[in-house]
Amino acid sequence: MNGLLAAELRRFWSRRLLWVLVVLELLGIAFGGGIAFWNVRFELTSLPDVFLGTSLIVTIVGWVLGASFIGAEWHAGTVTTLLTWETRRDRVIAAKIIAALASIFLLSMVIQVLLGGMLAFDAAVRGSTEGVDGAWFVESLGVALRASALGTFGAAVGFAFAAVGRNTAGALGVGFAYFVVVENLVRGFRPRWIEWLVSENASRFLLARSSDLPYLARSTLGAGLYLTTVALLALLFAGVVFGTRDVT
């Protein structure tokens, strides 16, 4: 299992798409940091709000990386080769999931730390660090961790869809259809079901304060547990399909 996991980690971190997205994120940080430096006097106390704003990007990047990690492998046909080396399919998919999710969580945190570092520099040089204390640090760290967890959630669900459909584009399409069509239909025609929508739970999980989403009765922990359950069920389904379906 260790060798398999090491091989999957190596493969994940060698992907071109990953580094393209990382470079784009770094350019975004540099651009955003530049704007903050020259045009506004950035107040470091608003860092948690910045993390909230970038959490959607973190989640989408997680979704794309998770889906393409397994989707590209089906596309290239390398799953067949791997399964002639390790025939225990549960181990194969477990190694892939662990490699993808752990890497995406780590990557999301590093990107946010870099963003935070850039903005802290701006604030120290031209802006303001007033009000920065222990409580601010805990809040900032909490938002960053929850945003990374959301990115990991996106990765898990994207991975699961791509594993079942054996296709990256299909998984991205399903995600788009869900958020654009299904959720809006539910909001329009079945408002009582809103508490079960991923977007609402993700917002509650991220915002933490119940006053931000007064119509949602669920707590932050409850939203986190709900999203975790959704991700685990999706991964479990993907694992069952991966373990039983013919590889032709």
Binding site: G3, T80, T81, L82, T84, W85, E86, T87, T244
Partner: protein, 305 residues
């Protein structure tokens, strides 16, 4: 000991518009240890499905298979480390080098890096080993597939069309490699549609048609197919030759400008003497040998899709 045992193996695929496609229809097969075993059949006969079933990639609908004594697929984890394989076109990560692709698989199975170097040299890829696989030609990818199959230093190799896409020199190299691997005491199970290639390297063959084995055994036995050997005799006066042989009690028949004589090769002197005694001198005498292609086409007649 048989390294591959297949009994009544059946595989059906559901069709999109209902009904089922039968890929394997109660296949029985035994492959003894050591040497090269040719697995032949027209497209769609079930060769690749058989290999996929043996490797646990597809689940059989019925029957059973055993690989190195282990039941498939349940017992595969215990023996897969002793099995190397190529299934159809070998797939590799296109944005990794050939060496990295092999190193990743080596890591999965705990194979040392020195073995990666060895197999790259063995298949003639050492010089391009650090180039990205996406820059490889089809033939080079095929060589990388063979290197992948050899990486575990396996006792049993399952090679699905290993020479496909290779240039003539590459085909000869692969043929020599297969022959050498078989001579080393490994079992090489090779499926191919290039019958002359298989005939040159295989000790035993099985011919598959519509998901069943229609012939199996040593190459010579399958080639003869139960038919008596014949001698081909060419001479100027075929009818005189036919009369002469008939008078000597030798069974023969005319075919165009030749005579086909129903005698085994070791009785050819009887033909030359009989004809010479009557002043008939032959211009050619040879043994009529069926080639694998002829036997294959006869056995799979109506199955060419």
């Amino acid at each position: 000991m048989d390294v591959i045992e297949v009994a009544g193996l059946r595989k059906e695929y559901p069709r999109l518009r209902g009904g089922r496609t039968v890929a394997l229809d109660g296949l029985d097969l035994s492959v003894p240890e050591g040497g090269v075993f040719g697995f032949l059949g027209p497209n769609g006969a079930g060769k690749t499905t058989t290999i996929r079933c043996l490797l646990g990639l597809v689940r059989a609908s019925g029957g059973r298979g055993r690989l190195l004594g282990a039941d498939v697929p349940g017992g595969l984890p215990a023996v897969v480390g002793r099995v190397g394989s190529i299934v159809e076109t070998p797939a590799a990560y296109p944005r990794f080098s050939g060496r990295t692709n092999l190193a990743l698989l080596a890591k999965v199975a705990g194979v040392g890096r020195s073995r990666v170097r060895e197999v790259l040299e063995q298949v003639g890829l050492a010089e391009r080993a650090d180039d990205l696989v996406r820059t490889y030609s089809f033939g080079m990818k095929q060589r990388l597939g063979i290197a992948t199959a050899l990486l575990k230093d396996p006792e049993l190799l399952l090679l699905d069309e290993p020479a496909i896409g290779l240039d003539p020199a590459g085909i000869v190299e692969v043929r020599e490699l297969i022959r050498r691997l078989g001579a080393e005491g490994r079992t090489v199970f090779v499926s191919s549609h290039i019958l002359t290639e298989v005939q040159q390297v295989a000790d035993r063959v099985a011919i598959l048609s519509r998901g069943r084995a229609v012939a199996s055994g040593p190459v010579g036995e399958v080639l003869s197919g139960g038919r008596a050997a014949e001698l081909v005799v060419r001479l100027n006066d075929v009818s005189a030759g036919l009369r002469a042989l008939a008078e000597a009690g030798i069974d023969a028949r005319a075919l165009d400008d030749r005579l086909l004589v129903a005698l085994p090769p070791d009785k050819s002197s009887l033909v030359t003497r009989t004809l010479a005694e009557r002043g008939l001198y032959l211009s050619e005498l040879r043994v009529e040998e069926a080639d694998l292609e002829t036997v294959f086409l006869e056995l799979t007649e109506g199955d060419q899709r």
